[in-house]
């Protein structure tokens, strides 16, 4: 590298980058720190950086039905994500490897459904769910989360399939039976990392979703709904919320950290190799 001016500018930029990074992370660090404080320390003035830590809030997480909400969250996230992948792989296949006529229109149809505000359909979704006796069940959340994530998943998976070299398929016959084999045995293994990052992103969106959960379910519901209850107990809740939030974000954050690379690749719809 022949950058002469960099001797002064580079360290400065590095410092600035670190400042920016820390600004981004400070709220999270503060949240983690708060989760080890007593409720009174959490709201003390001036804010306490040093305090005698307590694990009380972590011990008390399992009060107030945390377990049942967490179970629903995990169930809904895993099942809806699995269905998304199972539906999206063949769809992406039909839009990429053996494209149907007008595949481009279909692709744009999918992404356009993502741009329709869910709020516009919430009343009928609610009423239809009631008609089928699905309100306040995890089934209704699985259904709506699947449809919420499906378009994005199809786009991402398609972008991974596009990159498979053509000659890979030449060995396979293209009759009906061969097609399933082609999909399951050849394509899926090739795009495994891509599928994983797609699944992760869908899982994050399902795990964090609030609007549909709060409107369609109440007691059989996911963790965001559980968390929002803290507002109305009329107690000090900052530290307790921090503890719950820290705990339930740990798996997502770690998965996100591990999958950084393939996540970006999928999100750029394959524009980056």
């Amino acid at each position: 590298m022949n950058r002469r001016r960099s001797s002064i500018i580079d360290p400065l930029l590095t410092v600035l980058t670190w400042v920016g990074t820390l600004v981004m992370f400070t709220p999270i660090a503060w949240m983690i720190l708060t989760s080890f404080k007593t409720e009174e320390d959490a709201v003390s003035y001036p804010p306490k950086l040093f305090f005698s830590p307590t694990l009380d809030h972590y011990r008390r997480i399992f009060e107030n039905d945390f377990a049942s909400f967490a179970t629903v969250s995990i169930l809904v996230t895993v099942i809806s994500t699995a269905i998304v992948i199972v539906l999206a792989v063949p769809a992406a296949f039909a839009l990429t490897v053996r494209p149907v006529p007008k595949w481009r229109d279909v692709l744009f149809f999918f992404i356009s459904t993502k741009m329709m505000p869910i709020a516009a359909g919430i009343v009928p979704i609610y009423l239809v769910a009631r008609a089928f006796d699905l309100l306040n069940t995890s089934t209704v959340l699985v259904i709506v989360y699947t449809s919420m994530n499906l378009p994005l998943a199809i786009w991402m998976i398609r972008s991974f399939m596009v990159e498979i070299p053509r000659d890979v398929f030449d060995a396979v016959a293209v009759d009906g039976a061969g097609r399933i084999r082609e999909m399951v045995q050849i394509i899926v293994p090739l795009i495994k990392p891509g599928l994983a990052s797609t699944a992760l992103l869908c899982a994050i969106f399902a795990w964090n979703e609030f609007f549909l959960a709060v409107n369609l379910t109440t007691t059989v519901s996911t963790l965001p709904v559980f968390l929002q209850k803290f507002l109305s107990f009329g107690k000090l809740y900052t530290a307790q919320v921090a503890a719950v939030a820290t705990l339930i974000n740990i798996p997502v954050v770690i998965a996100g950290w591990l999958a950084q690379k393939s996540l970006t690749r999928g999100l750029t719809f394959g524009a980056v190799k």
């Binding site: 709201v43 507002l231 009329g234």
Partner: protein, 454 residues
């Protein structure tokens, strides 16, 4: 040719499946009889109800053939959840906890069972004479009870005795709003980050409009005149709203437009405000959660007044049985048990007298253990409840009932809008007068649309 044959086989199949389903139905019916009945109960998530959930084993001991499934929800979610359920006749709940505002409206719509007619008259064990009269009236429609009161409450003033003493001030048992404004100005301590008073400011008809409406009432204002013409811009209502906004802006807590009773409770228990005007039911939790400095210095006074005496609000959480419930008798057993003298005693002994549901029964206030535990505020609570009159809440006559709300179905919509404008005024985005003007235009629109005024 083939058609009749097909039809007959079809009919045959139908008959067969019918027979099958009938026998299956019989089997199921038998199974149901042997199985205990399970009641699904929607409750507000508050300390009193948490106690109820913990004590349910005592109910099982009495009625072994009934099982109870509690679904506790935050207040703001309980309302829409239960309403959606009963209005669409989903029949998910056997017992629902609803507020005083809903009881007459839902009774009128036939959504909830007439308890007086169906149960109270027959059940001599459940003492209905012992209920506090204003609270019983509150959960009644046309003289019949449609809910049993789980707890009843009014509003009063919480204040810090130590701060008053230090400032050389004295809180009378019956303060006026002018005095309170004066105290707030003197106690407001920006350097120590302690506000003069904490009042609700967050939008929501059940939030900021509750205290504001009691201020409007005592200032001599009202929501509507006898012809349902909106009266927020009448001089006295206007004065009251301007007073509330000004007090909150000048000596209220910081960032008041985001605070409901939850935040005020936090601020008061952490010593960040000198006064707080809110529901009497928070007296127990305040003492329970206060930090060391505040704990022994909590004082109580009646709701401040201006023109009209007895300006506290009146509220009750009642237990109702939706008409869609298939287990009416079992539901009554639970409802009666949860609001019985026996339960109150049990809750006091097992969970502490501070978390006993207050304000429902006279006998509660005669229990010596309860008296001892709540001596600081029990009398004032009773006094406030008895002084409030939801049938005649204002100085001038009104066509509606309800102290801190208006018992018409449109009030939720009206209240949500008005409280949004109020928050706008509190946050300084608009003047109180503009907020009133915008609200009144909207109220008029809603009332015309609903056919109250032409």
């Amino acid at each position: 040719m083939s058609k009749p044959i097909r039809r007959s086989t079809f009919v045959g199949a139908r008959a067969y499946s019918l027979a099958f389903s009938v026998s299956l139905g019989l089997l199921l019916a038998q199974a149901v009889q042997a199985e205990p009945i399970t009641l699904t109960v929607a409750l507000a998530a508050n300390p009193q109800m948490e106690t109820a959930a913990k004590l349910i084993d005592n109910f099982y001991a009495k009625y072994p053939d009934i099982k109870v499934k509690f679904q506790t929800l935050p207040e703001n979610q309980l309302r829409p959840t239960v309403l959606k359920d009963v209005a669409t006749k989903s029949g998910q709940f056997d017992v629902v906890m609803i507020g005083a505002y809903e009881v007459p409206l839902w009774a009128q719509k036939g959504w909830i069972t007439n308890l007086s007619k169906e149960f109270v008259a027959k059940d001599t064990e459940w003492k209905s004479d012992d209920l506090l009269t204003p609270i019983r009236d509150l959960v009644s429609y046309k003289g019949d009870m449609f809910a049993t009161p789980f707890y009843g409450s009014s509003s009063f003033m919480f204040y810090r005795k130590d701060l008053f003493q230090k400032a050389g001030l004295n809180m009378p048992e019956q303060p006026t709003w002018d005095q309170v404004a004066d105290f707030a100005a003197k106690l407001d301590d920006k350097s120590k980050n302690i506000s003069g008073i904490c009042l609700r400011g967050i939008p929501g008809w059940g939030q900021s409009l509750a205290p504001l409406t009691t201020v409007i009432n005592t200032f001599g204002g009202r929501w509507f005149d006898e012809k349902w013409e909106p009266q927020l811009s009448s001089p006295k209502s206007k004065e009251a709203i301007n007073f509330y906004v000004k007090l909150l802006k000048e000596h209220g807590q910081q960032d008041a437009a985001k605070d409901g009773w939850q935040e005020c409770l936090q601020l008061f228990t952490q010593g960040k405000t000198a006064m707080w005007y809110d529901d009497t039911v928070f007296a127990g939790p305040v003492i329970d959660q206060a930090n060391a400095e505040v704990k022994n210095n909590v004082g109580f006074a009646l709701a401040p007044i201006k023109e009209k005496p007895g300006s506290g609000w009146l509220w009750a959480w009642g237990l109702s049985i939706p008409t869609t419930s298939k287990h009416q008798d079992a539901a009554w057993k639970l409802v009666a048990w949860l609001t019985s003298q026996e339960y109150i005693k049990l809750a006091g002994e097992k969970a502490g007298w501070g978390t006993v549901p207050p304000g429902s029964r006279q006998s509660t206030y005669k229990l010596s253990a309860y008296e001892a535990a709540t001596k600081d505020y029990a009398d004032l609570t009773l006094k406030s409840i008895n002084a409030a009159n939801p049938l005649k809440p204002t100085v001038d006559p009104v066509p509606y009932t309800g102290v801190q709300y208006v018992t018409i179905p449109e009030f939720e919509q009206i209240g949500d809008f008005t409280s949004q404008q109020l928050a706008g005024a509190i946050s300084g985005q608009m003047s109180a007068d503009d907020a009133i003007k915008a609200s009144e235009t909207k109220i008029k629109e809603i009332m015309e649309d609903a056919g109250y005024i032409k």
